[in-house]
């Protein structure tokens, strides 16, 4: 289980306030589809994903910011991510059929987007976000069967 120190939690909530979270979420999803085209298979209904600009401008991609806003919930229950994400875990297994490896990839893309937004403030010592991404990925895989 991931252990968050007080510094981790402060860094996470601090960055959450600074970065535009909805925008980071939309950008992360777009970049996931551009950098790892194999993930496009999960988004058949999104329409035109034929190029990097088509993906980043696609209105359905932009509207899918639920990915990050659900992470807002994670912050309120950071010490019990498994319970918080249990319903989403079941959804991703039973309905969406997403291989949990993809949660790690999306988490890493989110880290890169956050680094882009926070710039030099995102020092190596700020490890809270990497831990959070790993914790959420694990929690989302937890109910798989």
């Amino acid at each position: 289980m991931v252990h968050f120190t007080a510094e981790d939690k402060a860094a996470i909530t601090g960055a959450w306030k600074k970065a535009n979270v909805e925008e980071a979420g939309r950008e992360s999803l777009g970049r996931l589809l551009v950098v790892y085209p194999r993930t496009q298979g999960f988004f058949h209904s999104f329409g035109n994903l034929s190029s990097a600009s088509a993906i980043m401008d696609n209105p359905k991609v932009k509207a899918h910011d639920k990915v990050l806003t659900s992470s807002g919930e994670a912050l309120k229950n950071i010490d019990d991510l498994k319970s918080t994400f249990a319903p989403l875990s079941e959804l991703h297994c039973d309905k969406l059929h997403v291989d949990p490896e993809n949660f790690k990839i999306l988490g890493n893309v989110l880290l890169i987007v956050l680094a882009k937004h926070l710039g030099e403030e995102f020092t190596p010592e700020v490890t809270g976000w990497q831990k959070l991404a790993a914790g959420v990925a694990k929690a989302l895989a937890y109910k798989y069967h």
């Binding site: 970049r31 551009v34 990097a52 880290l111 890169i112 882009k116 030099e120 995102f122 010592e125």
Partner: protein, 142 residues
């Protein structure tokens, strides 16, 4: 996995923007990796890993120089990286998973310092480049 001509152009463009900061970014990527992925420290138990370590700085420069060499030989990476490939296979024997950790930390470092350059397309090209380098470095393992 093949680097397209667009990928090659993107990699070269980002590399020219990095300029003389390569060593600094290499060291920062290593620092990020040791902090975020502590298992990677097992390969550096003989190093001083405290912040600002001269050994980490020197090693960051080695990593950056190797990547610059790779960026200048995109059409022939196996040859350009042959010596390093031998080193990693026969001497260092770094588990392949760790190349992903370092590649990720390099991208995070670039994103923090060059957000404008790291467009989605450039991000994709760099990711492919680092993955290709990693594959070459582990190609002689067995």
């Amino acid at each position: 996995m093949v680097l397209s001509s667009d990928d090659k152009a993107n990699v070269k463009a980002v590399w020219s923007k990095i300029g003389s900061h390569g060593a600094e970014y290499g060291a920062e990527a290593l620092a990020r990796m040791f902090l975020s992925f502590p298992t990677t420290k097992t390969y550096f138990h003989h190093f001083d890993l405290s912040p600002g370590s001269a050994q980490v700085k020197a090693h960051g420069k080695k990593v950056a120089d190797a990547l610059t060499n790779a960026a200048n030989h995109l059409d022939d990476l196996p040859n350009a990286l042959s010596a390093l490939s031998d080193l990693h296979a026969h001497k260092l024997r770094v588990d392949p998973v760790n190349f992903k950790f370092l590649s990720h930390c390099l991208l995070v470092t670039l994103a923090a310092h060059h957000s404008a350059e790291l467009t989605p397309a450039a991000h994709a090209s760099l990711d492919k480049f680092l993955a290709t380098v990693s594959t070459v470095l582990t190609s002689k393992y067995r």
